[in-house]
């Protein structure tokens, strides 16, 4: 196990700047998730940690050793690829044993390690099968088994669940988390799925366009997004945003709707700003803002209602069951204490 430090790392492919200065500190034994939309450079960063891509500038350290020029095989890391990357001509046991055999580990030790990994992952029955004889979930587990037997300093996962069906994804999510609880190996996990990030991570790194937008614990990002990008990216359904300006004690939308604020950040007064509120922080209330109901989606446990406010669809997540219909006019109110304000130009969070 080891800590990983990424310091001002950059990567260019030809003239394309894919990673544009990333700093991340990963503590020993931590489970960190890199999340961001497709193409933001998550895989590239992970592959640089693995040594599969060169580092254009900056420094990556694994356990206090700068690894910029260390070949992948000497970095003592294991990686699980999105498409599993199993050896098609080897059975499950051989797939897992390969790295140990290359190290000339004694036969008995190889066997012990494989059996241990197979037990942890429920692969004992499948050791003789070839990859093509396995389902997607089983292949995924073999890929993880191959990583586990190595007992590496760091585990790297690149979207390991995105080729699985929804149900399997949820159960594998729990399995990977459980695995980390047991092994306590430092883990860097890449995904584009913010739900995966929220449910699994100890620390989330939100990436966008080759830079880090915010680093923090899942709920920290949810409750205090540092900017508009993080605010909209984290959370499902995503945060409602309205453009307008900040006045003393209230926010006035472009269409003139007045929304109360608990605190007015002095620096924001009079400035163009963005008002954000999460769907579950909206309530039906007679003294709220009126809006026409566009969509109603009851799920049983809650009801998702989309209302039109200031010409924009606003999503509300209501815990109670409500007797409203499409076309009705209802009035909704945000809890002023739970409202977020962002600078309209920079997207930065406006704080008091």
């Amino acid at each position: 196990m080891a800590a990983v430090q990424i310091a001002d790392v950059r990567k260019t492919f030809g003239t394309t700047h894919v990673i544009r200065g990333v700093d991340v500190d990963i503590e020993d034994g931590e489970f960190v998730i890199l999340v961001g939309p497709s193409g933001c450079g998550k895989s590239t960063l992970l592959r640089m940690i693995a040594g599969l891509e060169s580092i254009t500038s900056g420094e990556i350290r694994i356990g206090n050793r700068v690894v910029n020029d260390v070949p992948p095989k000497d970095r003592d890391i294991a990686m699980v690829f999105q498409n599993y990357a199993l050896y098609p001509h080897m059975n499950v046991a051989d797939n897992m044993a390969f790295s140990l055999k290359l190290k000339n580990a004694p036969k008995s030790e190889i066997e012990t390690r494989i059996n241990r990994a197979a037990t942890i992952l429920g692969l004992t029955e499948l050791l003789d099968r070839y990859p093509r004889q396995l389902s997607g979930g089983q292949r995924q587990r073999v890929a993880m088994g191959r990583a586990i037997v190595r007992d590496p300093q760091v585990f790297l996962f690149d979207e390991p669940l995105s080729n699985l069906d929804a149900k399997l994804r949820v159960s594998m999510r729990a399995e990977i988390k459980d695995l980390h609880q047991r092994l306590k190996t430092t883990t860097v996990y890449v995904t584009h799925d913010q739900i995966e990030a929220m449910t699994m991570a100890e620390k989330i790194v939100v990436m966008h366009d080759g830079i880090v937008e915010q680093i923090g614990a899942p709920l920290e990002l949810y409750d205090h997004p540092a900017n508009l990008f993080v605010a909209c990216f984290i959370g499902s359904p995503s945060m409602n945003v309205l453009k307008g300006r900040v006045e003393l004690g209230e926010f006035i939308t472009a269409g003139g709707v007045r929304l109360p604020l608990e605190k007015t950040p002095p620096s924001a007064l009079g400035k163009p700003a963005v008002y954000g509120v999460r769907p579950e922080h909206l309530k039906l209330s007679a003294d709220g803002v009126p809006g026409k109901v566009l969509v109603i989606e009851p799920t049983g446990s809650e009801t998702q209602v989309v209302v039109e406010v200031d010409g924009q669809p606003i999503t509300c997540l209501l815990r109670e069951r409500v007797a409203i219909q499409r076309g009705d006019t209802i009035s909704v109110r945000a809890d002023p204490a739970l409202v977020h304000l962002f600078d309209a130009e920079t997207g930065k969070r406006l704080t008091d």
Binding site: L52, K73, A85, P88, F98, S99, L102, P131, R132
Partner: protein, 312 residues
């Protein structure tokens, strides 16, 4: 050779619900099959049955054709010239399979790297494949010439004395294999290159992390994964080398003496020099059985590697 193309032949096809059961051929289907049957019967089945028939007959020019049973086959067992030619054929074939396979694989590995100008080099490299056998024979006969040939000149540059090449019984077979190798290494290279191009990239990344060196990646990843392609190349080369006639005939006519007389050349002499058609047919039948047996063995080996061809 319907298995020459790699395909995921699991043999576990689920018949769709609408598909008629295998083998249920209705009478109304027959008219569509008859033309193919006639052609196959006329050009493949009939000649073979006829050859089989000739092989159990005395059938010589000037002698009336008469049924002799297995006499021709018995004669084969004691015919030293036949047995020698069989041995030569096998050693010629073994060498003409192994050498191009080894060199072709090596060439494919080289051409598979990002070699500058590899397109042009590859084009030049495959040219021997396109030359006609008689032209090749002419060029190589001149190169083999002990006094005037370029090969002895090249040897003299590295201090090796002149060789007699195809003009000496001891070196004639290796010399002919050299020609065969020169001509057919490109084919093997193309087959293996196709195989290399079809390999997935991901296992190599796994292997890098798992600690494999370049040689270990070849030994444990590349090599096992191209085995099906090597087997195809082996099959094609084996059949081709067994059948080889034109180049040997044009360069040595089986000589010196009978030192390069393979079964094909012996068969040619028996049938067209001595006009012993019945005996020649018996040789042809035995030879055919040999080819079929080797082919079946290779097909069997290839199918055993079909686990490679599923997606992973």
């Amino acid at each position: 050779m319907n298995t020459a193309v790699p395909s995921s032949s699991d043999g576990k096809k689920d018949a769709g619900p609408r598909q008629p059961k295998k083998g249920s051929l209705r009478p109304s289907h027959w008219p569509f099959i008859i033309p193919a049957l006639v052609v196959v019967g006329g050009v493949i089945v009939f000649p073979w049955i006829f050859t089989l028939w000739m092989s159990v007959n005395g059938w010589q020019i000037g002698v009336e054709q008469h049924f002799v049973g297995l006499t021709n086959y018995q004669r084969l067992l004691t015919d030293a010239r036949f047995i020698d030619s069989m041995g030569r054929t096998l050693s010629y074939t073994a060498l003409s399979v192994i050498a191009p396979l080894f060199l072709g694989t090596l060439a494919a590995l080289i051409f598979n790297t990002k070699l500058p100008g590899r397109g042009i080099l590859r084009g030049i490299f495959v040219m021997p494949m396109m030359a006609t056998p008689v032209a090749i024979a002419l060029v190589w006969t001149m190169m083999f010439h002990p006094q005037l040939g370029i090969l002895n000149y090249l040897l003299s540059l590295v201090g090796i004395g002149p060789q007699e090449w195809v003009f000496h019984p001891a070196t004639v077979i290796p010399s002919l294999v050299l020609v065969e190798t020169w001509q057919w290494t490109p084919l093997v290279m193309l087959i293996v290159l196709g195989g290399l191009a079809s390999l997935p990239a991901e296992p190599y990344e796994s292997a890098s992390l798992d600690g494999a060196s370049g040689w270990q990646k070849f030994r444990f990843i590349t090599f096992p994964m191209i085995i099906p392609f090597l087997l195809i190349a082996t099959m094609i080369r084996t059949i081709d080398a067994l059948k080889s006639f034109d180049i040997i005939y044009a360069i040595t006519q089986g000589g010196p003496g009978t030192a390069s007389e393979t079964i094909n050349l012996y068969l040619y002499s028996v049938a067209f020099t001595y006009y012993d058609v019945g005996y020649g047919s018996a040789i042809a039948v035995v030879f055919f059985i040999l080819i079929i047996a080797l082919s079946l063995l290779l097909i069997y080996l290839r199918q055993r590697t079909s686990w490679l061809l599923g997606d992973a």
